[in-house]
């Protein structure tokens, strides 16, 4: 917020210029021509016309501030109004507004300001008025996007259903959200208006009577060899002003919108800082013959302040060859994080303080990205939850499958293509050749999930990790996908770790299940056994929450005042 203080001081200097400065900005004195810095009465010297540089500098502040205010005010009043209207209403109204703003945006702005000089007579206020119009599309787009975002929130629908008028909704629900971004961009707009105004003044647009940084720089520049300091003062002042606006905008953004997205390394595997420690972890029965075994796995993510926050608190889990293991839990229980850890695809900020993940006896934690690449796709494969977002929208199905196949097994492009077509046919896609040429947005969700499954099983992996593979799909499609997984497993003999929150899915496809709560596995066992006789209280609670198939609402419709017994 130093920038804000600097801006305040500068603005005050400008306002009190008549009292601070000894001379008027245009008072020329022959005796003072090119007076050096520190000359009596001329603290910063005088220019080649004998005008007091210090005084001109102070008066120039006012020119800049007025420019910034006019430019920003015009841009905001036009952009905000149109943005709210266009964003809230959509349809034809938005179409029309959009068209006009697109037109303004394609105008070569600064050129127009120059070209229209005969009209503006170079008055910087009129020029900035036009510049404000040219800046309006930026604000419009910002406001429109935010408004459209809010408009799609259900709370706006709820407000409409509650009987709020449009104006009230805009004022109460939309404006508070729009405010922040608009205030932030105002700071940037002001900086850019000042920059443009001084640029134009430097060119010579504008009256010579009006002191401004641009004009002063131009004078100083032509006078460079006489007194090289003359252009430094206005340049310095201009730099400090625009920089203060930008920095002020930046700190406003940090204050109002919180941290901006941080970059994180794509390929860094979590917790690879040193060997995993094996503490005395409780061993799961039947670990000896496990294909994928996770032991005492701890996982943390940094919270906003940077201190690690635990997500997994010692997960132990074993998947045997060829079996289907259901990993069940409610949201936030850590089941998906366990799956990502097993695949080694945790985001860069995650870290594994302790624990072990072994695939067929080989420790995976601590392996390099290159070593993991050799395992992924070949030995361990993944089917995601949301089929659409897991395909790259810019490449055809065929291109994505071929690349993945070739990454996991070194086959030629044509062999990979042939195999891809074969696989697509295998997962029940009617016209594989045609599907290869389609883009993800051209196929349905169920079909996309088949494509993802086909790619995952391409190299006959030994473990398939499926993270809620049917949650995003309709029940009829879900049944088909579960059938497909069951058939593929029977054929290829792979083990499946199926992450789900749906006990119906577990009952349908899993042989064993593990129940997770708060980053721990609380119960593991045969599916039939756990359903019949759950041991852990949490499992019991979950199973009791399942809506009973046989219960149908049998009381008659009721009218106000009637009472009746509770359900169950």
């Amino acid at each position: 917020m130093i920038s804000a203080a600097v801006l305040l001081i500068i603005v005050l200097l400008g306002i009190f210029a008549p009292w601070i400065a000894e001379h008027g900005p245009n008072d020329a004195a022959l005796s003072a021509v090119n007076a050096p810095v520190g000359a009596p009465d001329y603290p910063l010297g005088a220019d080649q016309n004998g005008r007091d540089i210090f005084s001109r500098l102070l008066y120039s502040i006012n020119t800049s501030v007025v420019s910034a205010l006019i430019g920003a005010a015009v841009a905001i009043s036009i952009g905000l109004t149109c943005g709210l209207i266009g964003g809230y209403f959509g349809g034809r109204i938005r179409g029309g507004i959009e068209w006009v703003f697109n037109l303004i945006m394609t105008l070569p702005g600064i050129l127009l300001l120059i070209v229209l000089m005969p009209l503006t007579k170079g008055d910087f206020r009129v020029t900035m008025l036009i510049y404000g119009v040219l800046l309006a599309p930026g604000i419009y787009r910002l406001v429109r996007n935010v408004t459209v975002g809010v408009r799609n929130e259900l709370y706006v629908d709820a407000a409409r259903v509650s009987g709020l008028s449009t104006l009230r909704i805009l004022g109460r629900h939309v404006m508070p959200v729009v405010q922040g971004p608009v205030i932030i961009s105002t700071a940037f707009l002001m900086g850019s208006a000042i920059g443009v105004q001084s640029g134009l003044a430097f060119l010579g647009v504008g009256s010579t009577e009006v002191p401004s940084f641009g004009a002063m720089i131009a004078y100083g520049f032509t006078n460079l060899y006489v007194d090289s300091l003359q252009f430094v003062w206005p340049a310095l002042m201009l730099g400090v002003m625009t920089a203060s606006f930008v920095l002020f905008g930046n700190s406003l953004r940090d204050a109002l919108e919180g941290a901006r997205p941080k970059a994180s390394s794509v390929s860094k595997s979590a917790g690879s800082k040193g060997p995993a420690r094996h503490e005395q972890a409780p061993k799961n029965p039947g670990d000896a013959d496990a294909l994928l075994s996770i032991e005492n796995l701890h996982l943390t993510y940094p919270d906003p302040s940077g201190t690690p926050k635990p997500v997994l608190n010692g997960v132990s889990l074993a998947v045997r060859p060829g079996e289907t293991m259901g990993l069940v839990g409610e949201s936030g229980s850590g089941k998906t994080q366990t799956a990502f850890a097993a695949l080694g695809v945790l985001p860069g900020e995650a870290s594994i303080p302790e624990g072990s993940i072994k695939l067929d006896g080989r420790e995976l934690i601590g392996l390099s990205e290159r070593q993991l690449r050799g395992i992924r796709g070949r030995d361990i494969a993944y089917v995601p939850q949301e089929p659409m977002s897991n395909l790259d929208p810019s490449f055809t199905i065929g291109a994505q499958m071929v690349e993945s196949l070739r990454a996991a097994s070194s086959v030629s492009r044509s062999a990979a293509r042939k195999r891809a077509i074969e696989l697509l046919g295998h997962v029940g896609i009617a016209d594989p050749e045609r599907t290869m040429r389609l883009y993800p947005h051209q196929i349905s969700g169920g079909m996309a999930q088949r494509v993802l499954i086909a790619t995952a099983v391409a190299c006959r992996p030994r473990v398939l990790i499926a993270d809620e593979p049917t949650t995003a799909l309709d029940v009829t499609i879900q049944a088909e996908i579960l059938d497909l997984l069951r058939d593929l497993q029977a054929e290829m003999g792979m083990a499946i770790l199926l992450v789900t929150h749906n006990f119906g899915v577990v009952a349908d496809i899993c042989e064993r299940m593990a129940v997770m709560q708060d980053g721990r596995v609380v119960e593991t066992g045969d599916v039939a056994e756990v359903f019949r006789n759950p041991q852990h209280p949490y499992t019991q609670k979950l199973l009791a929450s399942i809506l009973d198939e046989s219960v149908v609402r049998d009381d008659d419709r009721v009218l106000a005042g009637e009472s009746s017994e509770g359900i169950n």
Partner: protein, 313 residues
């Protein structure tokens, strides 16, 4: 595809007509001043009227405009009120200087921005901080200041490069390159600061998407994920910025040319506006609108090629 281009060119033409008419209408308020400029301050009212008739400025506005527009579609932009030079020749020779600076700067900015933005997003750490520093620097200072600082340091103090003046490419390619180096650097600093921040932001968002994780689980190498998949998806929003950046650079070039005394579009437009040289002003407007329309069409075509969902043709 061809139909799409044709439609876009037509829309561009409509835009051009609209903008030029608007300009013409706004300029019409200052026609009297223009005539006074040509004749000098001491001209008699009858001489003013005679010249107005001679230049055709006394006809109804719409007739004048349509007359001019007819000429434009026939390839005739008229001649300058002051030098009698054909407008097309004058505009093209000046535009060449500005455009060469802008296009070189744009190309360099794109390359640097992509490298910086992608590295910052995918490697994080030091590179990320450097790239953020660069983009802040460009935002902090107006073009004009950067230009002046560079001139003072490199041309005047170190005498490495010419401070001002322009050598045509045909005369001496080496001196041509030297004469545009500083202006290009100024524009590149600004361009990189805008575009690298944009590319960094989009790439960060892209690299967090589900498909990136899925590609990793299949053993696809990191370079392919970053440069083939994520970058391609990040390109669409970057292209929008690119076309806006072109307009911004064009505007910036108009001002900084003046620092270097380059005989470009900016000083040309400025002088003709000061004089009120209507045919030249109109020519300047038409050419710049055409330029912008062309660049927008180009970026849309590239976007369609990169992004299958945006293929509207």
């Amino acid at each position: 595809m061809l139909a799409y281009i044709l439609r876009r060119v037509l829309t561009g033409a409509v835009l051009g007509v609209l903008v030029t008419f608007l300009t013409f209408w706004l300029l019409s308020f200052s026609f009297d001043g223009v005539v006074a400029n040509v004749l000098g301050p001491a001209a008699s009212p009858s001489a003013v009227a005679a010249l107005k008739a001679d230049l055709g400025l006394d006809r109804p506005l719409i007739v004048q405009y349509l007359d001019w527009l007819g000429g434009v579609f026939g390839g005739d932009f008229g001649v300058s009120f002051f030098t009698s030079e054909p407008v097309t020749d004058a505009v093209v020779s000046r535009l060449g200087v500005t455009l060469s600076i802008v296009l070189i700067a744009l190309a360099l900015s794109v390359v640097v921005s992509i490298i910086l933005g992608v590295l910052a997003a995918s490697r994080a750490g030091v590179i990320d901080r450097v790239s953020q520093g660069v983009s802040l620097l460009g935002l902090l200072l107006p073009n004009l200041l950067i230009a002046i600082v560079l001139v003072v340091v490199f041309a005047i103090n170190l005498r490495l490069l010419p401070a001002t003046g322009y050598t045509p490419f045909g005369e001496s390619p080496l001196r041509w390159a030297a004469s545009i180096t500083i202006p290009v650097i100024v524009l590149v600093i600004n361009g990189v600061s805008n575009m690298s921040a944009q590319i960094r932001g989009t790439m960060i968002g892209e690299l967090r998407k589900d498909y990136v994780r899925t590609l990793r689980t299949r053993g696809v190498p990191t370079w392919s994920i970053v440069y083939k998949h994520a970058l391609r998806n990040a390109a669409a929003p970057a292209l929008v910025v690119l076309s806006l950046e072109f307009i911004a650079m064009f505007g910036g070039a108009l001002i900084i040319e003046n620092v270097f005394a380059l005989p470009g579009f900016g000083s040309f437009a400025f002088n003709s506006s000061i004089q009120g040289d209507i045919p030249v002003i109109m020519g300047v407007t038409v050419f710049s609108v055409m330029l912008v329309v062309g660049v927008n069409l180009l970026t849309d075509l590239i976007n369609g090629w990169l992004n299958p969902k945006a293929r509207i043709y």
